[in-house]
Subunit: 238 residues, 4 copies
DNA sequence: AATGAATGAGTATTCATTCAT
DNA sequence: AATGAATGAATACTCATTCAT
């Protein structure tokens, strides 16, 4: 198959890989299958990519890059801006707001952000599956799921943190906050996307209903964190 | 290596498989690796199992069986007993309790159950990882993760449901309740187990601290469902 | 070893397979042996054929196709033509000729055909061996030997029969005729080819002598069927 | 399965082997299949036989022994006796009889012998198949089919020959006679037995009809050899 | 850009055979 | 006589990758 536009061929290889990797897993997918689904010869794959693994890396890295962009945007328009406006102050293990209006403002921003993130992971759900599969294995992408968390977290080396860090040097999350955020916020989001198709079938809901239902659940969760003028996770036994 | 008790050999094959499948995934694990880790010859594997896949099936099926036992136990000592005692009534989309004492009673039972489930998934975390990996693929075990959910759910054909159903014919969960329970209760639990080792490393917590932190998060979540004399998921926008 | 014309490589695989299958039998031949005799790698065999069995199928099917062509040719230039010329009439269990000249004419054609068939099976004797081996087994080719017989026989579904059938609707062979034709005409021919090499050694004859001797035997057999103005197999006890 | 009479167990192994070897061929039959069909463990087979090949050897050797007995009997009661009685003289390329009565006598004996041989090969048809399969391969039993022919033939080393040889030192068959006897007498007989089941199906004849039909064919063949006071195969072109 | 022939190391599985009990 | 666990070499087949054109 001759093609003037090499980019389109490359796209076809990528899309075939996404579909196959997300269905059968990386290991169980053969280059032959990718080739035939993409409508190219096996040899041609090696013109565009150095190896099968390089295709995987490309997929995951692209996803991580897009995710970073979204997270960065939230941090900037949300947290950093509120700090600069004097509406928010980050203490050792909690975020302190100037008043009830600031909390409502922040809450809206967080929920908006979560909704945007939800749209993103649903759109990219095939790659999300691949990421989940690979993050469970001893692979190069073993830690990518955690890197997603750290995107809004407290690692020295991630760009989002650096942004926050520069805005307020005292920022740090408590351990509880981190656990909560990861396992009851990011993990549900990622898993919702990863298992979307199958869950939709067994739930008999429409796309709209399902998405709304999931967001309602998140709001309940989130509301449970907001109390009075604080967002907190107390270290004393509740 | 001769061995009178073939069962021990079989166990060694199973344990090696658990370790390898959970580390590298089923597809990337070779029978040669299983054999050498189990200290047996490749041929012997096929004396005990019909195929590599049959080993996987065995692992997953065992896990599902154990999980069912735990869930059944909770339903019996928790829900069914309270209904029989007249302390709990199950309505269309909520559980209604006779008084505050009944709620505290029930809450304790749920949290105890979650803790027991947590101990279980942590102990079996290697197999949980395998289950997660396989449930993401188009495999025989594609739906096993959902079957875990349905264990305390409302399918006509699962043993736990049948038990509840006999106790109260009107029982049913709302769609929201199901989404919440799956994505913000089971999914975090499963993922906590699956990513336990790696999370522990990056969190720098001890086993005890980590487990307690996770349970505290769950309690917050759970508390947000309890209100007055009801446990509910409201269908109106919150 | 690169080769522009893949067909030549394919031929080498086919020829090696013929040699090995006919010597050791299909089951006892390994793909490794085929590869090394053909001077290719094991993997390449699977580039040209889907499986070892597909090679076998190809060999046998080719032989059957060639045999069909030869049989068809005989039917056309022999039987059908004589019927059209009014020299031959086919009755229920015998062929009736118009006169002695017609019989001599027909006899010459049958013997010529048998000689051509003999040349064919001798040339293809390696594949004939394979066919015999497989037709003795519960394999896909279990009935191919009989299909050879039916090529000039009376099945509704074979092309030769259809040709004759169109020429004379009353045509049918008696059971005796069929037994005779198969076991004392086709079977000797096929076995002559299949055991040719070994028989030649123990008989100490040259190719020419052996072939002539075999044909003389056939002529005696054939002559015993021709009597008066008929070719027949009587149903009364001889 | 415990068994007091080891012989019966041995028989079960033999019978299972006959059935399986004749259906799938020696190479494609596994010791596991033999064991399960015989109702014994794999290990036990090696108590009774040194190897899988030894089972095959046993089957074929038994058949050859029985066949030899039948052939010997014919030679004694047929040929040798007639020679001793002065009714038959064996010349270079023909058998010369004293008169028409001697021919009828001899013919009856030959046909009786063929009929007995037919009963024998039909009874042993499973082993005959195995013999045919093996005689087509480069195996230990490569020449066993020819050894069957030589049983009434002219090899220095076979017991039947020795008997005839001692009765008349001038005995020898012409090449033609040998070709005829092998390919149009023994080969049809053996093939009739080997393909019996399948041929029966496609011919729609009963056992009785089929056997009679085959014998009638043989009689026609045989009659064509008997002419005047001689049984001959002429070396001049017929 | 694209093809398709070719490679070779690897993979699950099989199987005749052994052997301690 | 009989079992069943164990072996290890072999087997059909796969697949990521290379490369000349």
């Amino acid at each position: 198959m001759k093609n003037d536009d090499g980019q389109e061929t490359r796209e076809r290889i990528i899309n075939a890989s996404i579909q196959l990797f997300s269905q059968k897993g990386y290991d169980a997918t053969t280059t032959g299958e990718i080739a035939s689904m993409a409508g190219v010869t096996k040899g041609l794959i090696y013109y565009y990519f150095e190896s099968k693994e390089e295709i995987l890396n490309h997929l995951v890295d692209s996803l991580m890059k897009d995710a970073t962009t979204i997270a960065m945007d939230f941090v900037h328009t949300g947290i950093v801006q509120m700090i600069r406006d004097g509406k928010l102050d980050i203490e050792t293990d909690r975020l302190r707001f100037i008043d009830g209006g600031a909390i409502r403002d922040f809450s809206r921003k967080v929920i908006d952000y979560y909704e945007r993130a939800l749209d993103f992971v649903l759109e990219k759900r095939a790659v999300i599956r691949i990421l989940m599969l690979e993050s469970l294995k001893d692979s190069k992408h073993h830690n990518d799921l955690f890197r997603l968390m750290e995107l809004t977290g407290d690692g020295e080396d991630n760009p989002v943190f650096k942004t926050i860090y520069e805005a307020d040097r005292d920022f740090t999350y408590s351990g509880d906050m981190s656990v909560f955020k990861f396992f009851f916020s990011i993990v549900p989001l990622i898993n919702f996307a990863a298992h979307y198709e199958e869950y939709k079938v067994i739930s008999s809901m429409s796309d709209r209903e399902l998405k709304d239902s999931f967001l309602r659940s998140f709001k309940i969760i989130f509301a449970s964190l907001v109390s009075g003028s604080e967002i907190l996770l107390r270290n004393d036994k509740t």
